[in-house]
Symmetry: C2
Subunit: 221 residues, 2 copies
């Protein structure tokens, strides 16, 4: 572990990656907490608040790692706030079911991304990033809620399928902005030699996994 405890020349890029992930978690907390306020029942509220708290619990270890690598978390986050905030501005849920789908899709998409980038990270950072991925009981709750709502109102399925596609489209748009503006980070994520094909491959893999998520929710991919 001693050898892998320092990411070496990629240090700055790793700090950027941890910063953008941590701001993603902070803003996920904020949006989920906002959406929880509109829950139709206390049990629904608790399900979304549990997801919000669980996202937020990942922030402190990420910030600790940024500090261990010599960075300052809030300074490191600053350049990434606009892209993440922009994503949320363009994907404000119009109702409770859009909130549920966004919570589920966002959680899963983040998990897929973490697993994808794990291979390019030093051991300690990898353990940290992968450690944030967990199958939560709330996800099963959400899938059940969405599926039964669609059964009762098939037109809802069409609307939510469009919504899920829009979520993925906005996520890719913002990811591409971030990659274009942060070359070292893009190189880190694309792997050794900055293989553009590798980036494109990752995006299409994430899109493929997103399709299977939609199917889980009972949505036409």
């Amino acid at each position: 572990m001693a050898e892998s405890a320092d990411p070496g020349p990629q240090r700055e890029a790793v700090i950027e990656l941890l910063a953008v992930i941590s701001y993603g978690e902070i803003s996920a907390f904020e949006r989920l907490a906002e959406d929880a306020a509109l829950a139709p029942s206390l049990a629904d509220k608790v399900a979304l608040a549990t997801m919000a708290s669980s996202e937020f619990g990942k922030v402190a270890p990420l910030h600790d790692r940024i500090r261990a690598l010599g960075g300052e978390p809030y300074a490191a986050i600053a350049p990434f706030r606009e892209a993440v905030d922009e994503f949320h501005r363009h994907t404000a849920p119009a109702d409770w079911y859009e909130s549920l789908v966004k919570a589920y899709v966002g959680d899963r998409l983040a998990g897929d991304f973490y697993r994808e980038i794990a291979s390019v990270l030093d051991g300690e950072t990898r353990d940290l990033v992968i450690g944030t991925v967990e199958k939560s009981a709330q996800a099963a709750f959400i899938v059940g809620r969405v599926r039964s709502a669609i059964e009762q109102d098939p037109t809802l399925g069409g609307r939510l399928a469009l919504w899920a596609r829009r979520l993925m489209g906005e996520a890719l748009t913002q990811a591409q902005h971030v990659a274009a503006e942060h070359e070292a980070l893009a190189e880190l994520v694309a792997g050794p030699g900055f293989d553009v094909a590798r980036l494109a491959e990752m995006f299409s893999l994430l899109t493929e996994q997103h399709r299977s998520r939609m199917a889980e929710l009972g949505l036409e991919p």
Copy 2:
């Protein structure tokens, strides 16, 4: 532990107590998350969101205990929502510093109350309730923020002192409503024999501890 694992004849009252505590934590999460959205900086936001998540983390174990005692958490919570919601309706912070003071005072008051009632609880419930009391790093952060703001603007100190008194007054008002409407719960909290003097004593002890909290924040008690 086997003997103390069941509260016996007090079972219904213990379920009520766990229910009102858990709804207190759920609504603390909601208010703190709301207030975090108005934070003047990302570090401030993270401090309040950390408190929100930490409050919320106590909910699942409380609900598990309610189920272990044969209760259903959401049904058990229902009779207590009005009093807790009413407290928050009457104590909506007007600005960021009122949010900070409310977060600090609320967290500490809850902790004092849990310690006070511990002695009347069965062992397993006691461990659970006391286990939710922790001195968080965020509390120190809040104290520092409030004290330095008052140093820069002494009129703020006067306003926040009134605010802290109002928080305590509203908390006592709602606690008395709950006690009046839930006799078994009041008996549990008041200890064996339903000693009204004991209840009054607890309220004045909590008020005393609240005064020392105000001093910590740099407020005139």
